[in-house]
Amino acid sequence: MKVTDLVNDLGFAPICMPDPEREIHGCYIGDLLSWVMGRAQADNLWITIMSNVNTVAVASLADVSAVLLAENVTLEESIVQTAELKGVNILSTSLSAYEAAVKLSGAL
């Protein structure tokens, strides 16, 4: 599935989507950044509640398809701009990481 399908089919809210056509393969959940870099695979959807500027760097370097911020976690506007510049897709949801993953699992 594509990043844009997360919005259209699953109802996740887009925060910024500079690369909406990117394909998603698999999912990784985690908030410890090094853990994510060690374990997440390229093209995963990364679900997290960690929302600082380093989240964007990690998403870019680990080459995940998109970041999904769970539990209504928000992102500062300046960080949204950084993500836009770096081509990092970010979405949000009111669901918990578990609930979001279950929803995604049915669609992947």
Binding site: L33, W35, V53, L61, A62
Partner: protein, 140 residues
Amino acid sequence: MSDHLNFHFTVDGDNFVSAGQASVQVKKNLRELGLSPDVIRKVSIAMYEGEINMVIHAHGGTADVNVYEDRIEIILDDEGPGIKDVELALQEGYSTASDSVRSLGFGAGMGLPNMKRYSDDMRIDTTVGVGTKITMTIRL
């Protein structure tokens, strides 16, 4: 083969906002060179972990990325406190980072293990009280 490309960076200490800038720039440069996504990912992550380590532990330092025909070499050099027990530092989960660093999502004790994981060869030269030099090689 002495002919190679060099990217040199100064890593600003104690600044978590700019941390990662060198890695992101390297990622961009390697993309422009047309290297495979897998190699770019390995180099970017290994370098980012090193960069973060220098910010957390060593008040910054320098980073050099050398691109050869058959390999990429990342050299991280700092004048920080040095690593007391390298074997322990290489264990997943071992960390001496502060709580404030942990609240940013770092300090999981995965930095050096990830650097080892994503490089084909890693050499650590460290002296307590003098500094640390880490050389990572990723084969192309």
